[in-house]
Amino acid sequence: MIKIEKLHKSYPIGKGALHVLKGLDLHIKEGEFVSIMGSSGSGKSTLLNIVGLLDGHDTGNYYLNGQLIENLDEKKAAILRNKFLGFVFQSFNLINYKSALENVALPLYYQGIGRKERNKIALQYLDKVGLKDRAEHLPNELSGGEKQRVAIARALVTNPKVVLADEPTGALDSTTTHSVMELLKEINREGMTVFVITHEEDVASETDRIVRLKDGVIISDEKVNKKVII
């Protein structure tokens, strides 16, 4: 699903350059639940931005859904993002003057789907994250956990190939963290590839595969033995 070969990325700082990613190789197959672990400055956010087509890379190859990503202009990137990727952000990034339902329906708006149809689909996904009764609430009338659920519903609504979550629990307390992770797991069980970025061990341990990043290189890549849930 996501295939990265010898990926390099550096940012210009003054006259020099900050080499953030130093030749990453990573292969994530369909249906995996992967977490990227690393302290701040390890390059994990940069990696997510490149994977999420929000930023370009310098050298190396990036295949998304088997398609080589190169020479993307903003329009093509926007179309690919809309089609293949769903984003979940640390700070939820809901649009505060739109109701939960409208927020979830927004990616469908950019696909050109009619109002009735997209509200119907959006409501299904809100139901899936257990917030059907909150559909008409504005984001500031929702709790942090609820906001993140709305954001997850929004990430899922286009039925993407990969859900990219950037510190999805960073702004949540431990109980809501747990419930959000449960939700992500459930999504993964239904076959969705989920790609989480975090610096919390607890969160990483809930995933199936942990990739540890340090100073722009992968230092470990291990499958986690899951506890059997009865």
Partner: protein, 415 residues
Amino acid sequence: MIKFLFDTDTWQEIFSSIRKNKVRTGITIIGVMWGIFLLVVLLGAAKGIENNFNRLFGDFATNSVFVWAQQTSKPFKGFQEGKAITLKMSDLESIKKEIPGLEFVVPRHQSQALTVNKFKTGMFGVFGDYPEFDKVQKRNLVYGRFINNNDIIEKKKVCVIEEEIYKQLFEKDEFPIGQYIKIDGINYNVVGMYKEGQIGGGGPRGNIHIPFTTFQQVYNRGDSVGWMMITGQPGFDIIQIEADVKLLLKNLHKVHPEDERAFGSFNLGDLFKKIMEFLIGMQFLTWFVGIATLIAGVFAIGNILLITVKERTKEIGIRRALGAKPWEIKRQIILESVFLTSIAGALGIIFGGLVLMLVDAKFGKGEERFLTNPTVDIPVILIAALTLVFLGTLIGLIPAHTAVSIRPIEALREE
């Protein structure tokens, strides 16, 4: 694109964006509104003045000059200065023959006369006129007719009176036509009554017109002419005609060519031209001020949108992460700009129209009014409105470009 314009979401987003900056947006709208308001009101007022001017001078052929004889101020060909000159009918024939581009040359005589009808009397101006006078200075007849050729040939004792004279000499509801009035002791049959516009022949209001030939005979004027009105054909310069006529007259009457006082004249065409130039200048100024204010207002709208876009940077980032194409962001902002300018324009036109209606009601009625029908033509309004929409689109491009020039990743980082 059509679907985009009629989409509820499109408008919902515009309104929510406006709602966030109510006061600022309001003030900005007032800026543009003020521009188009000024344009409408000033153009309307200029039109009103022009209409009023046409109303006052509408009875006159505007490319006309009046010429009369005075006394010489220079000795010439053996004559002392101070020689009195009298215009003759033969002068008119020469003028008609020699000078090109004339439409009418109308001789007139003028006198004051005691006029009596039964027990009512009054002093009025009496004019000896040819039928052509009606063409040079339109008499708006209420009853009857103006002097005709037959009157001239037969030197008939007939007269045409102004409404004011009718009011002074006749009983209310009395029909004047066919009645006889006594002018300087001679009975004249009233054949017509007219109503004068605001500016008459220059004298007091209300005149009596009798046939020119009758006047010559009754007042013993022989072959003389009191003064004449000359009108030029369209395309001929009335100032040149005036100069030519005076030079010819000087020649005919043996007057020094540089004698400026021998013949007096009043060039209505020249005056009219100057006033018209003033009106055109005023209209130009109106357009200039109006358009300049509009541009300033539209810039203010561009400015406020730029601020809005800055404030919404993060939101725009989110939208782009969710798959909004740059063009989809851009058109939203451009539409917002066009929407604001259109609303402002519509309000400005409505308020301008209302003010013109008010001005018309207050100053546009009665004889002494200085405005007539202050209006603005629909095409002018359309042009102004289109200009506004065009400028709105153009200025919307700036914030629209700013909105998409920030990369989504940077926009998302914005707090």
